[in-house]
Every structure is written in structure tokens, then in C-alpha cells.
């Protein structure tokens, strides 16, 4: 009897506690439409001892605009995404190294595909049976799409995409996000196109390994271009975060 009753006693106060919190929520929200930041503020204190670092509470706050008195480090009321951009508080040299790595990846990507193209162009003479397939313009199309997407992504102002710097024109943020979407769609389209070319042109035709290398080179070109864009994005956005932490 003692062992069966003692687990019950801690469970019942916890249930009562949860019910009280739910009623508080239902009572507060219609009453405080004017100042929802104050109504949400004490609720953090009730629920957990470390309130401002709760990521699931972000969409509740992001629906209310013009709250400027809150500390911006933990949650930003103007933030749109539930998961924010990855914040790297790296040193100053990380930006330099990231830019160098991005440039190296960019050159490596293009040289990988150019290697396949040059190899295909020089495969005519020595082979006694003529080679069954060549690198044609179809193989160049995914790489060109990826290059266009890369330049679109790189040339976008990062602060505008985030909308953090308080630009007056809110349509600029919208347009920057549209351009970013176009850039990523171009890069993803290039990657998908290269995989399509690899499968349809090289693998399904059962060429030997010497010729399927053209398709694999195409895919690795697009993968490396995407990696380069990601590395460049992280490297150039880490510095602003670094400065941001210094100013706070």
C-alpha cells in the first residue's frame, strides 16, 4: 500500500499545476492585445528558470511588431524564420580562411569539369574505335546554371536578407529574399540537372568507366560550387555576428 500510494502523490500536484497555467494563458491573451510583450514576459518566468533562451516561443513574439525594448540577443521580434541563421562567433581570421576556401572550391569545381571537357576533346585521336560519347553543350548547361546561381547568392547583401539593420524599405528585404530564392533555385537546378545528365546520358547507356567520368565530373562540379557558396555565406556572415557581439 505504501509503495503504491507514494508514486501517486507527486503526480497529482504536477497535473494541477499544468491546469493552472493553461487557464492563465487563456485569460491573458485576449485581455492584453495592446502589450503582448509584457504578458509573455512573466510567463517565461513561470515556466522555466531560464526564460529568454526558449526557441519554441519565437513565433508567438514574431507576430507582434514594433517591440524594441526587449534584448535582441536572445530573440528578435522581427525575425521571420523559426530557426535563425546559424550564428558563428568566430574570430577575424575565420572570415579570411573561409573566403580562401570558398575561392579554392570554386576554382576546383570549374577545373574538374574543364578536365572532363579537355579529356573528351583529346580522346578523338589516340583511340582506335572512335569514342562513343563526347562532352557536348548539354553537359555545360548545369554548370552554367550553378554559376549564375552562385553569383546571384554571392552578390546579395546579407544584412538585407536578414532584415536586421533597420532598413526603412521593407520591400528591399522582400526583394533580397526573392533574389536569394532564385539563386538557390538555380544552384539546386544545376545540381539536379547534372545528376540527370549523369544518369540519362552516361549510366543508362552503359558506357565504360572512362566515359562515365564525364558525368561524375559534372556532378562534382555542381556539388563543389554549392559547397563554395555555403562556405562563402558562412564566412561573410560570421564577421557581422562578431561585430554585433562586440557592440552589445
Amino acid at each position: 500500500m505504501q509503495t503504491s500510494s507514494s508514486p501517486r502523490t507527486p503526480t497529482t500536484p504536477i497535473e494541477i499545476h499544468v491546469e493552472i497555467e493553461v487557464r492563465r494563458d487563456a485569460d491573458d491573451e485576449p485581455a492584453d492585445h495592446q502589450r503582448p510583450d509584457i504578458s509573455h514576459g512573466p510567463q517565461f518566468g513561470r515556466q522555466s528558470p531560464t526564460p529568454p533562451s526558449l526557441p519554441p516561443q519565437l513565433p508567438l513574439i514574431s507576430t507582434n511588431s514594433s517591440i524594441m525594448s526587449l534584448p535582441r540577443s536572445s530573440y528578435d521580434p522581427r525575425r521571420v524564420c523559426l530557426n535563425p541563421f546559424p550564428e558563428f562567433t568566430l574570430g577575424k581570421h575565420r572570415r579570411t580562411i573561409g573566403v580562401y576556401i570558398a575561392g579554392a572550391l570554386f576554382a576546383l569545381a570549374n577545373w574538374t569539369f574543364l578536365d572532363a571537357a579537355i579529356l573528351s576533346a583529346h580522346a578523338k585521336k589516340p583511340l582506335d574505335p572512335p569514342p562513343p560519347v563526347h562532352v557536348t553543350f548539354v553537359d555545360w548547361v548545369p554548370g552554367i546554371c550553378s554559376l549564375l546561381g552562385f553569383f546571384v547568392i554571392v552578390l546579395i547583401d546579407k544584412d538585407r536578407v536578414r532584415g536586421e539593420e533597420g532598413f526603412g524599405d521593407s520591400r528591399a528585404v522582400w526583394r533580397a529574399r526573392l533574389f536569394l530564392f532564385i539563386g538557390f533555385a538555380l544552384m539546386a537546378g544545376g545540381l539536379a540537372g547534372s545528376i540527370t545528365v549523369l544518369i540519362l546520358k552516361y549510366i543508362l547507356e552503359d558506357y565504360s568507366e572512362q566515359f562515365t567520368y564525364y558525368g561524375y565530373a559534372n556532378v562534382s562540379q555542381n556539388v563543389a560550387l554549392m559547397l563554395s557558396a555555403v562556405v562563402l555565406w558562412i564566412a561573410t556572415s560570421s564577421a557581422s555576428e562578431y561585430e554585433y557581439n562586440l557592440t552589445l
Binding site: G103, F106, W111, D115, H122, E243
Partner: protein, 130 residues
């Protein structure tokens, strides 16, 4: 200044050895395409040198003007990778011999290492004049 003089002499020897390797890789097989590697590696520090004057200092903290500096670094690393990739691509498609490829890569690495070491060794005296 004696240490600086020794450094200069050593670096000039390394530079000469690098150019010797590249020219030898061209002349031994009568194919002068690897000479492009020397040209590429000589051009490699040029974008960094040009664009570093466009940006701010390292300690001023104005990250808004760091775009041209980043562009220079991007182009520099692109050129360096191009210098290493070009002989490999040429050797892969059997335009040049693999030995010429290895020699030109080694020579190009020596030339670019000389340039890097020179700019690193004599950076101190440049910043004194600023």
C-alpha cells in the same frame, strides 16, 4: 640587416630554383605549355595587393568595406588553385608528360612560396612607414 640580407639571398635562390624547375619541365619535352604555370603563380598575389588598399584596416572594424578585400582573397585563391590544377589537367589529357606536370607543380609551389615568404618577412618594415 644582416638577417634580412641572408633572407633575401635565400629567397632569391629558392625563386631561381623554382623557375629552373618550370623551364626545365618545358624544355626537356619541347612543350612550352607548363610555362603558363609560372605566369599564373606570378600573377597570384596581384589581386590581394590591389584590393587590400580598397578595404579598411584590420583593426578599424568597418566590415561594410570588407567586400573588395574578400573579392581579392577569393580571386587569389582561385588563381593559386588554377596554378596547381592546370598541369594536372594537362597531364590527365596527355598533353604534357606526368614528369613535366610534377616538375612544374613543384616549381610553381616554390615560386609562390617565395612570394608568400617574402611578403611575410618584410611586412614589418612596410608597416613602419604607414
Amino acid at each position: 640587416m644582416a638577417a634580412g640580407l641572408k633572407t633575401v639571398i635565400l629567397l632569391s635562390f629558392v625563386l631561381a630554383v623554382g623557375f629552373l624547375m618550370i623551364i626545365l619541365s618545358c624544355a626537356l619535352w619541347h612543350n612550352w605549355l607548363p610555362l603558363l604555370v609560372a605566369l599564373i603563380f606570378v600573377l597570384a598575389p596581384l589581386p590581394n595587393a590591389l584590393f587590400s588598399h580598397c578595404g579598411a584596416d584590420d583593426f578599424s572594424g568597418h566590415y561594410d568595406s570588407a567586400g573588395p578585400v574578400d573579392l581579392g582573397r577569393f580571386i587569389t585563391s582561385m588563381i593559386v588553385v588554377t596554378g596547381f590544377a592546370l598541369p594536372i589537367v594537362l597531364a590527365h589529357s596527355e598533353v604534357i608528360r606526368p614528369a613535366a606536370c610534377a616538375m612544374s607543380i613543384l616549381g610553381g609551389g616554390l615560386v609562390y612560396g617565395t612570394i608568400l615568404a617574402y611578403s611575410a618577412a618584410f611586412k614589418q618594415e612596410e608597416s613602419d612607414y604607414d
